[in-house]
Amino acid sequence: MKPLRGLLPFAVLIAVWWGIKIGAEVPDKLLATPQAVWTSFVGLVSHGILAEYASASLRMIGTAAVISFLAGVPLGFAVGTNRYAARALEGTLRFLQGISGIAWLPLAILWFGFSQTTTLTIVIYTLIVPIIFNTMTGVRAIPENYTLAMQSLGAGRLRIVRDVYLPGALPSIVVGMRLGMGYGWRALIASEMLVRQGGLGDLIFGARTFGQIDRIMVGMVVIGTLYIVVDRLLVQPVETLTVARWGVLRR
């Protein structure tokens, strides 16, 4: 029953779309019918085209997520455990958060050309800033008493990192990861539209050239759906297994 209730708003959305299409008699070159989009979807799937473009996007976000996590978490720790570094970098990080990944595209294209490297750079940049920022905030929010208590139990620095800092910062790392994946996915699609080296952004931007409105809309639906799938299948289970069980969930 529960997954069905979650799908209901989508059914309403499709009904509204259909209603507008028929009621306002919107021409086919501006808005495709749900059936046309479905037919286009089936076609793209059966020729393996959709799999090709979607897997390119997923590979890219996956690579960027792994690199950003591996680099961002240690960086966040380094900054978060050092009061002076934290104060100095907080402003810089906020400044960088203001310059979206897309705003780096002109520069990145000049540096790396219309290549996968350009897209990867943009996505990592977008993903890593919220990860660093949230890891840093998480580390700094750990009560000092936890560390003091560990020292009085004879714990060394490594032990404290493992037993206090890592689990203590995990809720914030998860938040950073979720935010980063959301921003990163958007930046990825935008970059693909300009770089035109595969991916769902490339698919929908290419379809525009030929006025294939049904294909554009298939691409958009897939982009939205894949984001939900990635978030539900990857990030949420981590959260329920750890953070929620400890009763330290932060939103």
Partner: protein, 257 residues
Amino acid sequence: MGDKIEVSGFRHFFQTEGGPVQATGTIDLSIKAGEFVTLVGPSGCGKTTLLKAIAGFLTPSEGRILCDGKPVRGPGRDRGVVFQELAILPWRTVRRNIAHGLEIAGAPKAEREATVARLIGLMGLGGFEDRYPHELSGGMRQRVAVARTWAADPEVILMNEPFAAVDAMTRLTLQEELGRLCAATRKTVFFITHSVEEAVFLADRVLVMTKRPGTIKAVLNVPRSTAGGRDWDSFTSDPGMQKIAGEVMHLVHAERV
């Protein structure tokens, strides 16, 4: 000298933007091995500063602190600390929190389990071994904090208003439990509180501090007829105890801020 803790000429200043602020006056004190000493004084008198210095969390501006004749240079497992709140780890179950000190010391599994089981029994935590702290009441959490410190088996235990954040009814139970635990283990305990009753109830010796910058203005011995005889019923009906509590109250009252 049988002194476990020796504080001589201790004085502390905090550095602030507006210059140094004096946190305590000059303090000298010594605590004998196996003694339960409570320190009572008004808020802001420097009780916590003194405890932190003994724990090794801060370096005294003046004076020196010895533990077993050796200068204190930082926190260590010879001096366990029980905080007022927020000190057991939310991501560890009751069992793993209590075992933490032994885990750090690399004690064998059998020893860890035996110690944890004993303390769970002593602190009335049976049935909660696999719960996480957020599933426990405030009183239960403090029992875990106390058990964790005892499990690590330090020679000295420093307690900073450990029961201040729990409700009054639970506090009475926790105080009796602590009394029994101390009678059973003979630890050297330094206990800070702002409650006169608590100070007299638990102590072999009560120290009274003046208001900030605090110094020790009085020392009162609390004679114990039986080592384990710490319960509120006999305490409240014992005229000797009530007399001491009255004296301490009088001394503390004069230091109101």
